[in-house]
């Protein structure tokens, strides 16, 4: 019989993968009716914990009890009442919305509910969450990431869980959506079920959690309750080595940027049908933020800027020694020193079958040795060592499979790859998705250093906190077009929110609405 006050008990749990120790004597207890955050650097074992609680992985040793039982596989976990939203958005691209939504509700021999019910219910839920009236029989393949994320969340909510685990579920959600999610979470908490949240978004975390357990290298290093949960305390526990001070990036200086000449410019850009065309310029030495609610065209714009997609109308041009070089393809972009880093590493980032080193090197071969030229590891290796130090990549042997790294470190390898190409412009598409604070800071510092050296950065994020003290200007997108560009001191929560929601005037009411929503 487990202590009535504890729904989830994890005592001295160990889990290793090959020689990687993921969990090393972890202990966590979670009480009913609380929102419990699991915080830690990349690779500290958060997801592993989540997987163990949901029966996906089994602990090598130690005690795991959820409502008095030990979930050994997802089927059992489901019976116990555990619903998990995993870090990776798990949907079947070729199946319809309704199939994805109700995956796992049927048993081998019996249907959970009639297809008609299922359709109705799925349409209602998605309408409530995404505000879109979606045909339940439409394959999820063509849906944007955020909607897919919602499908996964809805799926978890549908099996009305006693324990809900969210592993970075807000990473793919924009602000408004996150607020909605928080509303749902509160409902559940008040209904007495307990919620485990894994997130790197400190702001969100402070807003919603009652209690936070901090992990380091697979061990519990502390527990914070209520008011104790602050960025400072969290950081102190997560990485005691560095003080908050030294990782604060130096503040920007507008003067230098004004001086910098144009690196990349676009005129009359239209990213989709019927979207109002707009111009933009990126100065060398500048960090240009890009944001917007989901599906407002900002990520499309980013791909255009990187040369991955040709603009729907208008032209993008890189400035080279005064002359303008039009850019219509990735190849041209890279010829003119523009590199792209995706935040969606699994899909368009890493090569899971290659070593850490080759994941880093393969982008450099062309410039160093050409298509058929002899590859010599010497020079590339030097670069690799340099970048590894610089970004503090926590990697084992360079010959290890990249998949043996945690998400955050994989991301660092990709950024290292971009920096090593010595580009003029780096275009980053939400690179900090699922990346811990420490790593984020490292990333900001590196990008600052890069711009200080005359480089220019386009940085997309849906987490507006990222831009504070970091971006020089922020382009806010709306309805497929540039809605407003904020710069300098304008870059603050209210103004950004206002722009994202399409208000130009003051928006106290809206913000307070969001606040109380969350």
């Amino acid at each position: 019989m487990q202590d009535a006050k504890e729904i989830v008990t994890v005592r001295d749990v160990r889990k290793r993968f090959g020689e990687t120790v993921a969990l090393d004597g972890l202990t966590v207890t979670i009480r009913p009716g609380e929102v419990h955050a699991i915080v830690g650097e990349n690779g500290s074992g958060k997801s592993t914990l989540a997987k163990i609680l949901s029966g996906v992985l089994n602990a090598d040793s130690g005690e795991v009890k959820v409502l008095g039982e030990t979930p050994l596989d997802p089927i059992q976990a489901r019976k116990i009442g555990v619903a998990t939203i995993f870090q990776e958005v798990l949907v079947a691209d070729n199946l319809t919305i309704v199939d994805n939504l109700f995956a796992g509700t049927d048993t081998l021999w019996r249907r959970g509910r009639s297809p008609a019910d299922a359709r109705r219910q799925s349409r209602e839920m998605l309408l409530r969450f995404t505000g879109l009236d979606l045909d339940p029989d439409m394959p999820v393949r063509n849906l944007p990431l955020s909607v897919r994320q919602w499908i996964v969340i809805a799926r978890a909510l549908l099996c009305n869980p006693k324990v809900l685990i969210l592993d970075e579920s807000s990473a793919a959600l924009d602000l408004e959506a996150t607020a909605k999610l928080h509303v749902e979470i509160r409902k559940l908490r008040d209904a007495g079920c307990c919620i485990v949240i894994v997130t790197h978004r400190i702001a969100e975390l402070i807003r919603i959690t009652d209690r936070a357990t901090v992990l380091r290298d697979g061990k519990t290093v502390g527990e914070l309750v209520g008011k104790e949960i602050t960025e400072a305390n969290l950081l102190a526990l997560m990485s005691p080595k560095r003080s908050l001070q030294e990782i604060r990036p130096e503040t920007r200086n507008p003067a230098r940027i004004a001086a910098g000449e144009t690196a990349l410019s676009g005129s009359r850009i239209g990213v989709r049908v019927g979207a109002a065309p707009f111009d933009f310029t990126l100065r060398s030495g500048e960090i240009l933020g890009v944001t917007g609610l989901d599906g407002q065209g900002q990520s499309h714009f980013l791909r255009v800027a990187a040369g991955i997609l040709p603009p729907f109308s208008g032209r993008i041009a890189a400035a080279e020694g005064g002359a303008e070089r039009p850019i219509s393809s990735l190849a041209e972009a890279s010829d003119h020193g523009i590199v792209y880093v995706s935040g969606d590493r699994a899909r368009e980032g890493i090569f899971p079958n290659l070593s850490i080193f080759e994941n880093f090197a393969i982008a450099l071969y062309r410039s160093c040795f050409g298509q058929f030229g002899w590859i010599r590891n010497g020079p590339v290796d030097a670069l690799y060592q340099k970048e590894r130090q610089r970004l503090a990549i926590r990697a084992g042997r360079a010959s290890n499979r990249i998949t043996s790294l945690s998400g955050g470190n994989q991301q660092k390898v990709l950024i290292a790859r971009a920096l090593a190409a010595e580009p003029k412009v780096i275009v980053l598409d939400d690179p900090a998705r699922g990346v811990d604070l420490q790593t984020k800071r490292d990333l900001y510092i590196q990008l600052k250093a890069f711009t200080a050296g005359g480089g220019a950065v386009i940085y997309l994020s849906s987490e507006i906190e990222e831009f504070f003290d970091f971006a020089d200007r922020v382009m806010v997108f709306r309805n497929g077009s540039l809605f407003r560009t904020l710069s300098g001191t304008e870059i603050a929560e209210h103004a950004l929110l206002a722009a994202m929601f399409g208000h130009t005037d003051d928006i106290e009411p809206l913000v307070s609405k969001l606040e109380e929503a969350s």
Binding site: S54, P74, A77, R78, A92, G104, D106, R111, R155
Partner: protein
């Protein structure tokens, strides 16, 4: 909204377009060149010849649907194995009771496929490799069981391969198996197979019993292969160690012609049935022409071209639903 649903439904059945069109075209050719196809005997003959192929390609379908690029290369040799052992081990020893015979063939199919499923699941080797080795092994074993075409089908099968009536025993078996198939596709069990095939990680993580689903898919495959073997035995009224093997490529082709993608995702039983029928019609339509001494070569050429063209149209039509690019 309704329009949307329309489009979604259409999209889900798009893969049937090509085999349907193909069948219509071939039927027209047949009607013009060899109208005897539409006589009682013509249809009767068509049914007894096409039934083993239809059942074999139905057998491939659940395995393709359950994912991991599942394609059962060993369906042909397994069909041959059941045919040979039925003739050699049962009939020659006088065990010709219909119930016993059916029980044996079904059991044989199920046992074989359970072994295959177990290897795929627990050795974690991809299905195409496992079934390739199954193919090679059975090709050998069949010739050991029966070194030459010989033996005879149980006498209650006499005349099953005679095919002068539309509702011959074979036709009834075919109808029953098709009916069973559509019952099967309505079941929650089939849903579990589809989920597993569409994304095994998603299925597993959400408490779909993907192990049971895979075993189930293979058991169904075993049953359909077994009945295919039964109808094939009826067709040739004897045992043949090598002929079964020719069904592997034929059935896979029928499966793919039917719009089922070996990559998982799209496809279904109806497609396989149509695919198998169009395979027969291709062969029939070609045989209505007289190419003299080069008949064989022309047949091979045209079969190849028809295959490629249908696939091409299929992939062009399903392009939108193909791998999304940026």
């Amino acid at each position: 909204m309704t329009a949307r649903i329309q489009s979604a439904t259409v999209e889900r059945h798009r893969h049937l377009m090509v085999p349907l069109v193909l069948i219509v075209v071939l039927l027209i050719v047949a009607a013009l060149r060899g109208p005897s196809l539409f006589t009682r005997d013509g249809i009767g003959g068509a049914i007894i010849v096409v039934t083993p192929l239809i059942l074999a390609s139905l057998a491939l379908t659940p395995i393709a649907l359950v994912g991991r690029g599942g394609v059962d290369l060993s369906v042909g040799p397994l069909l041959g194995f059941i045919n040979c052992t039925l003739v050699k081990w049962l009939v020659e020893n006088g065990w010709t009771n219909p119930v016993a015979v059916v029980a044996y063939v079904v059991a044989a199919g199920i046992v074989y496929h359970c072994i295959i499923a177990a290897i795929i699941l627990y050795a974690r080797v991809s299905p195409i490799i496992v079934t390739l080795s199954g193919f090679l092994v059975l090709v050998g074993v069949n010739l050991v069981v029966l070194d030459r075409p010989s033996g005879s089908a149980p006498e209650w099968m006499d005349g099953w391969g005679y095919g002068t009536s539309i509702f011959s025993p074979v036709a009834i078996i075919l109808l029953v198996m098709i009916a069973l198939w559509f019952l099967f596709t309505r079941s929650s069990f089939f849903q579990q197979i589809r989920l597993t095939g569409a994304d095994e990680r998603m299925a597993f993580a959400n408490g779909v019993n993907s192990v049971a689903a895979r075993f189930g898919a293979h058991i169904v495959a075993g049953i359909y292969t077994a009945i295919a073997a039964l109808t094939y035995t009826a067709l040739i009224a004897s045992g043949d160690p090598t002929q079964g093997t020719t069904y592997t490529l034929a059935a896979i082709t029928a499966l793919v012609l039917g719009g089922t993608s070996l990559g998982g995702g799209t496809g279904g039983g109806l497609g396989s049935i149509l695919g198998a029928i169009s395979m027969y019609l291709i062969s029939y339509a070609l045989s209505t022409f007289d190419f003299g001494s080069i008949a064989g070569f022309v047949t091979s050429l045209s079969t190849g071209l028809i295959l490629m063209i249908s696939l091409l149209i299929n992939s062009v039509m399903n392009f939108r639903s193909g791998r999304a690019y940026d």
